[in-house]
Symmetry: C2
Subunit: 445 residues, 2 copies
């Protein structure tokens, strides 16, 4: 996803060690959360059966309510900002937290854009007739209740709520403490939109307390009333969720993405792709963190590739061959091959051909997104087959790792697990399925 | 699945409280299991890349090795049987455990039949071109390492191992103590078959100890080296796995399946379906446990439906209206609506129309398999849409809840969860996917 993670160190603080106003305790968090879970489950049953038209009406009403409540939302945001500044948050953090008229309009427009997506519920995923005449269909159904735990970005309240609803799910949203008031004001607009369309307000709810015990309750699954949890934020947040959640998690811990420049790579293409993969935006999970260069083309390709990165302001940590290619390169340590810099830094290694490149990616990578640059189709096919990552590319930048770039319209995150969802998680991946069978009186012999 | 669960009470004893020879302890189970996990992961990487032909060669070689080792397998089984008899196991248990020439041939033939299935790996699940020319494909990949925990049925060793391999996965198999020697002999034949095809023997391994600590190790996920666990057995085994597993589980806890006879049901069809759904085999998870009869047709339908079941030897526990219909009916308690009898017993209730029928199924059911009998297409569509079960049928018996009946060739079980796999879990559901993208030098603006 396109969220910067440069401030990931804040996540633990936000969710685990909240202090000051952020640690306001609720008198009975377990009861509050249990009630939230029950209400979400009831709401999920209703939105699961809603028509596409009804869901779209709700989404457009939500956008209208966000616009209508703009002054209240901005006032809530001003309070969040004042508190964040008083706590000495960084300028980048304050910027992520800040709403204004333009940003609020973008949030409303994003909710409307979800209405335009095809309804993922009810799609016939497979259909077959058995010799006994039974007509069997595999049909997409909603997942149920989705818990989303995110850092202090007010837009996620609207984005995540809208995507979950479009797929017929209820959403329980937990924001970082610093954006609590802003998120609550947006969530209330979302619930109002639901009610305008005759759908239950409980289908999108923000956890109405900053008490940190609420996160633990969500990770426990709220007595079976959360079906999946999606963490959106830095590595420490995702790590905690993956470690502690007793329900499935759609997430990626980190994006240690590679570009492998194969011996048959066109140099001009390789330069474009490497520069874009690393430097277009350095803080996104699809940015390249390691460049692998085939020893067979290193004499011609290594120096220009290093130069284009260095000249663009990117630091290089390289092995001995790379260090010899340019004096600006510093020495890479073993740890560099395992590091997601999320910054203008890249590790560069020369490898002995395709096998060593694949072995490096499988040893040090994070199964997120990896690319090969080559004019040799056979080499490309082997790389795409043998690299076990959610997204594998041939002659394209790793920065395409994004639901929007896939044509999914929007995404709730990128998953690197192998269960259910993998890669960008759009509305289709927020559905399950059932088997619907039509007969004419068949009994089993 | 078609396994009887009549002996489910044995599962805890087998896996938790094994005694006598079954509790033989291994000197270092954690190290043994960790090693098994590492080996399975390495093997998984190799079988993931195996061609369909190579996997099929292995499957046929496994069948040949099972036949070639028949006398050794039957000798091992004789030892298991002697021990089980000495421990006073029931006749039904002994029967499930018993192998003979005919049953062993059926096991070998079942392994061969998996070779005939289409390769689920490499299927292009979706394919689209983006405006920038990127060619994006969603391609089926193996899941990784599958842990299967089952009771003392020697055939599961072969069935589960073959299905996991066909989908490009490695399998770690844990059998019930009583069939340990039989299962080990079969597993060795499977590993020999793998090696004959040039594939790693570690791709199918039986846990080589009866020490019960091995189960706990599997449920912990073996340091990330098990991707999913499939329990096959009685309710207590499945409940423990669902409760304790730290990795995803494909399972169903129970099959409380319903047949709803709607007011527009043809009586002759309803009688056939109800009798088959309950009585074809009472011990399978797809057998009906509750019959719901629409009050609107009760005057004509209730008495004949009750009679056909009672005359076939099925006990009925019914509400007051049902009791009034036939003197042989006894009173149902609230607990009856929640009971999976797995026996010639059924609970019968008269409901006020479709809404009450759906509400009953959603309140008391287990989201496994439910059927409506009606000539009214609108009522059928509502039932199929609103009943949130893995399998929903119109005018057909619930006993079709079986991978073979779906045309999947074989199944490793039936899942009622909403994540990844739902309904019969065949080879397709034992795969994940990745995104494979071909470009021509695209960079992201």
């Amino acid at each position: 996803m396109d969220d910067t993670r440069a401030l990931s160190a804040n996540s633990l603080a936000e969710h685990l060690n909240a202090s000051g106003a952020a640690s306001v305790e609720h008198p009975d968090v377990p009861a509050l959360m249990a009630d939230l879970g029950r209400r979400a489950r009831q709401a999920a049953r209703r939105v699961a059966l809603a028509s596409d038209e009804q869901k779209n009406t709700a989404l457009r009403a939500m956008a209208a309510r966000i616009r209508a409540r703009a002054s209240a939302i901005l006032a809530a945001n001003a309070e969040d900002l004042a508190e964040a500044k008083a706590k000495g948050q960084t300028a980048a953090f304050i910027d992520r937290l800040t709403l204004n008229g333009e940003r609020l309009e973008a949030i409303a427009a994003a909710v409307e854009s979800v209405a335009v997506l095809p309804d993922p519920v009810g799609r016939v995923l497979a259909k077959f007739e058995r010799p006994n005449g039974l007509q069997i269909e595999r049909v997409a159904t909603p997942l149920g209740v989705i818990g989303v735990i995110f850092e202090s970005r007010p837009n996620v309240t609207a984005d995540a709520g809208a995507l979950c609803l479009k797929a017929g799910n209820a959403a329980i949203l937990r924001t970082g403490s610093e954006s609590f008031r802003s998120a609550l004001a947006i969530a209330e607009a979302m619930s109002e939109g639901l009610e305008k369309a005759g759908l239950p307000a409980d289908a999108i709810r923000l956890v109405p307390t900053r008490d940190r015990a609420a996160v633990g309750a969500m990770l426990s699954g709220l007595n079976g009333n959360i079906d999946v949890i999606v963490p959106r934020g830095g590595k420490s947040l995702v790590a905690r969720v993956q470690e502690e959640a007793r329900v499935p998690v759609f997430a990626h811990l980190e994006g240690i993405c590679h570009v492998f420049v194969h011996e048959k790579a066109d140099l001009a293409m390789a330069k474009r792709i490497v520069l874009n993969a690393k430097m277009r935006r350095t803080g996104v999970c699809g940015s390249a963190e390691t460049l692998l260069v085939d020893r067979a083309c290193a004499p011609t390709h290594l120096k220009p590739l290093a130069a284009i990165l260095l000249d663009a302001g990117c630091a290089i940590r390289g092995d001995e061959t790379v260090q010899a290619a340019d004096p600006r390169v510093t020495a890479a340590t073993e740890q560099d091959w395992r590091t997601e810099y999320l910054d203008a830094i890249i590790s560069v290694r020369v490898v002995n051909g395709l096998d060593e490149a694949i072995a490096h990616v499988e040893t040090y990578g994070s199964h997120h997104t990896d690319s090969i640059v080559t004019d040799d189709p056979a080499a490309a096919e082997r790389f795409l087959a043998e690299v076990d990552s959610a997204i594998v590319l041939h002659n394209a930048s790793t920065q395409f790792a994004d639901g929007g770039e896939f044509g999914f319209g929007a995404e709730i995150g990128i998953a690197t697990g192998r269960m259910h969802a993998r890669g960008p998680v759009g509305v289709e991946q927020l559905t399950s399925f059932k088997y619907r069978i039509h007969g004419s009186g068949q009994t089993r012999p």
